[in-house]
Amino acid sequence: MDKPVNLFLCGVGGQGILLASEVISSACMKSGFDVKQSEVHGMAQRGGSVISHIRFGKKVYSPLIEPGAADIVVSFELLEALRYLPYMNKNTKVIVNTQRILPSPVATGMDTYPADVTGQLGQRGLSVFPMDAFAIAKKAGETRAVNMVLVGALSAFLDLEEAVFLEVIAERIPEKIRKVNTEAFLKGKDEIGGILAGG
């Protein structure tokens, strides 16, 4: 594997994208890969759109994914998947949480939420994997574990051992909420397994 794998995460501030990125990057490192993960702090975080680039492989130079070069996109919020379309190509796999978080122009009635987001992505030939990560997290026992559901879903596409992810979750997540987060991770992974098995 000479070319690095490009994972692009997007969503809204407060959804736990940065912790998710840390878990994924740590799993890559523990699996023996070089890894770089890039995010932005400060003003960009106040309720804005948040993105994180993760690149792993034998050797990684640039911390930033080029337009059109994402191998897998994980969108933590529905419309955010559409915003970052220029990072995708026809072979990109797009995992989309169907949860909607209204942007302020939509919440105040100045703009409208885009219709049929997954359909719009599908029309462009992308492989779209929609899932209600919020409902799955709720089932696992913690609505704030949406991020681990999506890490689980992403892991179904990566050639990394499940045990490594579980080890990282055990290291990074406080004991009190570790069990629900592990559960959320496994349920997210199963969800993709189910979609793939179902065709």
Partner: protein, 605 residues
């Protein structure tokens, strides 16, 4: 897939976390900073290591002076700041270049190309040239740690402060870092009197000026042997000279080309540059922002291409670079689809929203400052009219007043946060009193430094080390400066705040209004048990949209068709109604005052 070595001795760290580890391994004893993106996490991490004194200083000038003092006492010392912070610390920097050091002294400047979280994108490599101080520039987290340790050795060997420059994509990018050996300085701590070195009277300074030139010559020679200035030979048709994060973009876009990577960006290794240039056919200089390397290479009489191809604004990446150098666009990219923006916004329950709504009713010019509250400039609050640099609100309001005279009474206010006031607002206020102004200054006291991630500051009394003492008493401080009218208001009570504002802006004397209400993101505020929730009684909502004027993210507009309106018992002409998102509502109650139809009421918890 091939696995590389055994993990365990390696950790995943951001550039800032790696710098903290590097400072610890270098045996740094004193570290001082003012928080600023993208530099803040260096001290937030360093404070967790044993044996290092760390502190938040009121501003970057003080931070550098504290670090310089520690160096005079023979300890290795660190000052960290964002790029604009070095403007504040420039005064001690330029003369510290003359005094030199005892213990190693390193200043980290974290630049922000693209202005992710800054008011400008100045290139601080220019400070190295202007202050005659060497500068190292790492490309990633691993180099950040190594370069910091090297910087201390250079500092002590050459008797000079050393600048280490990162940019956002070094500071905030996580990568693999190997923990290293602990180092100790050979400098003996203690009080040593060296007036000719430390007292920069003109007579002494002239002597040090000569030493400074000699030191720069020695450093120029050293640059030629410095191992982090290295040539990576590849195809000799194309050669790149680059540094910092730009090196990574060059390697990504042109893996086969020859590269001269500068780990030290000032002074330059001239012979190495000449040698490299003579062996490649086409020479390109790749750097973010200013043509700093390019100007020097051209001054050596070497033909090269740089800023005529590579953008001088914003961040680079491998895509931009490939296009700039080869002139070729990539294959078919998906066209962007227009989607609603997600502009950053003040949080639900933010006390700033209340006071800015009250200010917006006055129709005054608002001279603003740097912090979360700068977001009040955006719609729908639209109540900030200028914002330049830390502490500028008071001086600019006062200057406008002096230009316009008595006619400006009641038409201008200055707004500044508590931490920013401590940073550099106090001196502006002294000017107002001393020079007999009538400026109205609003100090937003939310008991924290919000935007950079909730650092304590002198007015909170809590230190970076966690000591909880008595904070600076802002009303008493204003009183001591000579402000006779100091009023404290609750910003959530917008009607009263407006009343006080109207009264104070008409006063032909200086006055200070302090809004006191803690930031809702503070842990004690998040945990509070008596938090209220509000809801909209649908029947009472007339769809007047008054509650939407404050732009609270918890208040949502539900549009209605005529049919839906009729079905719900509204007038057919009603275009929609408001709802309050129960999860987001923080219970500040600001919206209750705005509703003239009593449609917003307390909800069950």
């Amino acid at each position: 897939m091939k696995k590389m070595g055994n993990p365990g001795d390696k950790v995943l760290l951001s550039g800032n976390e790696a710098l903290a580890l590097g400072a610890y391994e270098a045996g740094v004893k004193v570290a001082s900073a003012y928080p600023g993106t993208p530099s803040t996490e260096i001290l937030e991490n360093l404070c967790r290591y044993e044996g290092v004194y760390t502190e938040w200083a009121p501003n970057e000038k003080v931070a550098l002076e504290v670090a310089l003092g520690a160096s005079f006492a023979g300890a290795r010392a660190l000052a960290t700041m964002k790029h604009v912070g070095l403007n504040v610390a420039a005064d001690p920097l330029f003369t510290a270049a003359y005094t030199g050091v005892r213990g190693g002294l390193v200043i980290v400047t974290a630049d922000d190309p693209e202005m992710h979280s800054s008011q400008n994108e100045q290139d601080n490599r220019n400070y190295a040239y202007a202050a005659k101080v060497p500068m190292l520039e790492p490309s990633d987290a691993s180099e950040a740690k190594d370069f910091l340790k090297v910087a201390y050795r250079i500092s002590e060997e050459f008797d000079t402060p050393v600048l280490l420059r990162t940019t956002t994509r070094v500071a905030h990018v996580k990568g693999i870092v190997a923990a290293g050996e602990m180092e100790t300085s050979s400098v003996q701590p203690g009080i040593v009197k060296m007036p000719q070195k430390f007292v920069m009277l003109p007579g002494h300074a002239r002597l040090r000026r000569v030493e400074l030139e000699k030191r720069m010559n020695r450093l120029r020679e050293y640059a030629g042997t410095f191992p982090a200035n290295r040539t990576e030979w590849g195809d000799k048709k194309t050669g790149f000279i680059t540094s910092g994060v730009s090196y990574l973009y060059v390697k990504e876009a042109f893996p086969d080309a020859s590269v001269l990577k500068l780990g030290m960006v000032y002074p330059f290794p001239d012979d190495m540059i000449r040698d490299f240039a003579s062996q490649v056919t086409d020479l390109f200089i790749v750097e973010e922002l200013d043509p700093f390397i390019e100007t020097h290479v051209k001054a050596l009489g070497i033909a090269c291409k740089g800023k005529e191809l590579v953008p001088a604004m914003g961040e680079l990446n491998s895509h931009i670079l490939r296009k700039a150098i080869t002139g070729r666009a990539e294959g078919d990219l998906f066209e962007p689809v227009p989607v609603p923006m997600r502009p950053p916004n003040l949080c639900a329950g933010c006390p700033h929203r209340g006071i800015f709504h009250a200010i917006s009713r006055l129709k005054v010019f608002v001279a603003g400052d740097i912090g979360c509250y700068t977001l009040a400039a955006l719609k729908p609050l639209s109540s900030m009219d200028s914002c330049v640099c830390m502490g500028a609100s008071i001086g600019t309001a006062f200057g406008m007043e002096k230009a316009l005279g008595k006619d400006s009474l009641g038409k201008i206010v200055a707004v500044i946060g508590d931490s920013t006031f401590m940073h550099s607002g106090i001196t502006g206020l002294i000017d107002v009193v001393y020079n007999r102004g009538f400026t109205t200054v609003i100090i937003l006291d939310n008991s924290t430094t919000g935007m950079t991630g909730h650092q304590p500051n002198p007015s909170t009394g809590v230190t970076l080390g966690g000591y909880a003492g008595t904070g600076i008493d802002i009303p008493a401080l204003c009183g001591a400066i000579g402000i006779k009218h100091v009023v404290t208001v609750n910003p959530h009570d917008m009607d009263n705040a407006e009343k006080v504002l109207r009264q104070e802006i008409e006063r032909p004397e200086p006055s200070v209004i302090i809004t006191q209400a803690p930031c809702v993101l503070l842990p004690e505020m998040k945990r509070r048990k008596d938090k209220k929730r509000y809801m909209v009684i649908g029947d009472n909502c007339t769809g007047c949209r008054s509650c939407l004027k404050i732009g609270c993210p918890a208040i949502e507009w539900a549009p209605l068709t005529a049919e839906e309106a009729k079905k719900l018992g509204y007038k057919e002409s009603q275009k929609g109604h408001s709802t309050i998102n129960a999860v987001m509502c923080d219970g500040c109650g600001q919206c209750v005052t705005l509703c003239k139809f009593k449609a917003i009421v307390g909800a069950e918890k």
